[in-house]
């Protein structure tokens, strides 16, 4: 039986050239579906990769109420109370690895001219120890007390006027950019760093936005949370930094997924009807061949398999071309989702998803014609010409 299946399928593949143009319809259809779907999903995959690049060992403490770190406000007294909580890991000097930070977002513009803003993190003395993933790419770190800025590599690449030597306008004058860092693909890559106390002076703020700390172990978050909850002087909430970023852009990621899949589903339906159309035509064109094979003693199943395998082969070819197009155009491309700068990703997982979708469309598009081909009455098939 397997021999028969192989023989009939091979014979069929060899005769595909005779139906070249109609076969191309399936290939082109799948190319379009997969190229569009994967390109759209590369946005979501890029945002997901950015989230995964975050460090779950770090927590943020925000004043309870505001949804974002920008609106959160913590006084120095509150910050001191938070930093007293047990569960933070220790710095080299034995002090807990936790401190207050401030954020500011002056206007900037994308290289395309689109206005946006760039978020500056005011790093305290422990800022770098808290974020071991931050590595200098070029230039040097900002010096404590100096009005200097360093920018992430995504910010340098996507925003205008953020190279070393350029100046950023802040409330009391312009600050030079002295270095470029990498944060390993996390959101910080699209942002900037300055010295906290200098930045606070400059924006005339006496309060922190957040307190940021490293957990001493995986269970320490609960310990810190209960300590903070037990203190009536504090109305704050603590969460992992990765969870914070995940929930502030959860709606956006869901929306991208919904748009991609709505678009993909409509196109996939169109391609499926197209495949069905072409496969019915293919079976019609092969009637004599099928009749001859059956008369020679080949079973119905090998004939049916040859129909399905033809459709699978064409759909897979289209999927691979579509994936290649999406990959070549968008994998590794710089993208901005509002002020969030990141890199698009066409991952092996996405390509696998595309292949699975192609198989499903090919099966749905060829099953009915295949059954019809297998049931073709031999005499009638032979007579058809």
């Amino acid at each position: 039986m397997l021999k028969q299946i192989a023989a009939v399928s091979l014979l069929n593949f060899k005769s595909l050239r005779a139906r070249l143009w109609s076969s191309l319809v399936i290939v082109v259809g799948m190319t379009a579906v997969i190229a569009v779907l994967l390109s759209m999903l590369s946005l979501k995959a890029g945002l997901d990769a950015q989230l995964q690049a975050g460090d779950p060992g770090r927590i943020l403490v925000l004043s309870s109420g505001p949804e974002s770190v920008f609106q959160s406000k913590l006084t120095r007294d509150q910050a001191a109370l938070i930093m007293d909580a047990p569960g933070f890991s220790k710095a080299d000097d034995g002090t807990p690895l936790v401190e207050g930070e401030i954020l500011n977002s002056p206007p900037a513009s994308r290289k395309t001219g689109i206005p946006t803003f760039v978020t500056i993190h005011g790093f305290g003395p422990k800022g770098f120890a808290l974020r071991p993933e931050v590595k200098m790419v070029s230039g040097r770190k900002v010096r404590p007390g100096a009005r200097e800025i360093m920018v992430g590599q995504a910010a340098r690449d996507q925003l205008a006027g953020l190279r070393i030597g350029d100046k950023v306008i802040l409330p009391n004058g312009t600050w030079p950019i002295v270095g470029v860092f990498s944060a390993g693909g996390a959101a910080l890559d699209g942002e900037a760093i300055a010295d906290r106390d200098t930045l606070m002076n400059s924006v005339k703020s006496v309060d922190f936005n957040i307190v940021i700390g490293r957990l001493e172990n995986a269970q320490a978050l609960d310990k810190i949370k209960s300590a903070l909850a037990a203190n009536p002087a504090l109305q704050v909430m603590a969460e992992r930094e990765t969870d914070y970023y995940a929930h502030i852009n959860a709606d956006d990621r869901a929306l991208i997924g919904a748009v991609a899949w709505t678009t993909g589903a409509i196109m996939a339906l169109g391609a499926m009807f197209g495949a069905l159309n072409i496969m019915i035509g293919a079976v019609r064109a092969r009637r004599q061949e099928i009749g001859t094979l059956r008369a020679l003693g080949f079973g119905g199943l090998p004939v049916a398999v040859s129909v399905v395998s033809e459709c699978l082969l064409l759909a897979l070819t289209g999927t691979l071309i579509g994936s290649a197009i999406a990959w070549a155009m968008f994998n590794g491309a710089q993208e901005a989702w509002y002020d969030n700068l990141f890199i698009l990703k066409v991952t092996p997982g996405l390509i696998g998803l595309g292949i699975a979708l192609a198989l499903a469309i090919a099966l749905l598009g060829s099953l009915a014609p295949a059954i019809r081909a297998a049931r073709l009455p031999i005499v009638e098939a032979l007579r058809a010409a």
Partner: protein
């Protein structure tokens, strides 16, 4: 029309093929309609931008979302001294929610000048006076009134997280004093309150500050407004509270590309769908003509001209394309009506905008697809050797 039975017979020759082609075309045009609809709604916002309008913000806002950037009200007099300023208004905002955190309510707290500077918000002088006379009154739009079943006179309490009152209160006891028409630029409706009420609730050290100035210059020219924006930035560049000024035209253009480049994405996706069906219909009509060469030869023998035969082929391609386009664009219109309820509350993507002019573009594209898919087989028939075709060669 008298040749319609001929075309109809050709389409019914393989009914499964015709129906499946139609279904593929329906899918492609559903997608096409949604995509050009999104593009049209973004375009409408960009084209609807007022060329004479400039906005001024505090330069160092504390970030995205409902933020707390403020600047001194005293800047108003200095801006008015610049040449060519026709009107100036200002607002602050109360970003909060109504009853449930999911029901976001972003209240613009405006002054009388704002009513005049932004006439598109339907605040007539009478309504503006009404606003000034009632401390806690707000105007809401029809869509908001329908969403929360509100009418004039109803209480509309808004709870805030970010902006609090001097006494620490987070509840804003607004009352609905009127219902306005919705406008395209506010895709989820809008709420307008009274700035002086807002100011009175603020801590003493924050009184006399505001969020945004809206300015109209005397000439409706984007170049002049861009110059004015720069002049305003320069005016406060060395002050303790520097500002950032943008023209409405620049902001509208930026908004269409801020999350993704909507014009680019929608055109590529719409094109990919059309390309897919072009291949399908082209192949179908090519096969159909090839299999019926003898039939066309008979028609020519009967006296059909080259153009007549070509018209028949084109009609055979056009019927599923046009019918599919009409159904597909209809489905897209139905989908567009559903979009506002499908969007997450934080996302202000406008619904696809599908007026007759945009739907017309869809139908023109359907005719183009039909023409393109029929051109090769129709051209082949032109030079058809009738004798050879009838002999089955």
């Amino acid at each position: 029309m008298k040749y319609f039975p001929l075309v109809w017979a050709a389409l019914l020759r393989k009914p499964a093929h015709t129906i499946l082609t139609l279904l593929s075309v329906v899918m492609a045009f559903t997608l096409f309609g949604i995509m050009i609809g999104f593009n049209a709604s973004v375009e409408r916002i960009v084209n609807g931008a007022f060329p004479e309008r400039v906005y001024v913000y505090s330069r160092f806002c504390t970030g995205p979302g409902p933020n707390v950037c403020i600047m001194p009200l005293a800047y108003r007099e200095q801006i008015l001294r610049l040449p060519g300023i026709a009107s100036i208004g200002y607002r602050s905002q109360v970003p909060g929610y109504y009853q449930d955190p999911k029901n976001r309510a972003y209240v613009y707290m405006v002054d009388e000048g704002w009513c005049r500077t932004r006439p598109e918000y339907n605040l007539t002088p009478a309504r503006c006076r009404q606003l000034e006379d009632s401390r806690t009154g707000v105007f809401i739009t029809r869509s908001i009134a329908e969403r929360y079943h509100l009418k004039t006179g109803d209480a509309f309490p808004v709870l805030t997280k970010a902006v609090t009152q001097a006494d620490g209160g987070k509840l804003w006891p607004f009352t609905v004093i009127g219902i306005l028409d919705d406008i395209p630029r506010e895709t989820r409706g809008y709420i307008i309150g009274n700035y002086s009420y807002f100011d009175q609730t603020q801590p003493l050290n924050e009184r006399g500050t505001l969020g945004t100035f809206a300015i109209n210059i005397s000439v409706p020219d984007p170049a002049v407004s861009a110059k004015t924006a720069l002049a305003i930035e320069a005016l406060f560049a060395n002050s303790g509270d520097p500002v950032h000024a943008d023209t409405e035209v620049a902001e509208a253009q930026a908004s269409s590309q801020w999350a993704v480049n909507i014009p680019f994405v929608t055109m590529v996706v719409a094109g990919a769908g059309l390309f897919m069906v072009l291949f399908l219909t082209g192949n179908g009509i090519y096969q159909s003509v090839r299999e019926r060469i003898a039939e066309f030869a008979v028609l020519k023998t009967l006296g059909f001209s080259d153009w007549g035969v070509m018209a028949l082929v084109f009609a055979e391609a056009a019927i599923p394309c046009l019918l599919g386009a009409v159904i597909g664009l209809g489905l897209a219109t139905a989908f567009a009506a559903k979009v506002p309820s499908l969007m997450p509350p934080s996302f202000y993507l406008p619904a696809p905008y599908l007026p007759a002019s945009v739907l017309g573009v869809g139908l023109v594209c359907a005719i183009l697809v039909a023409l393109l898919s029929a051109v090769i087989p129709a051209w082949r028939l032109r030079g058809l050797d009738v004798a050879a075709a009838l002999a089955g060669k």
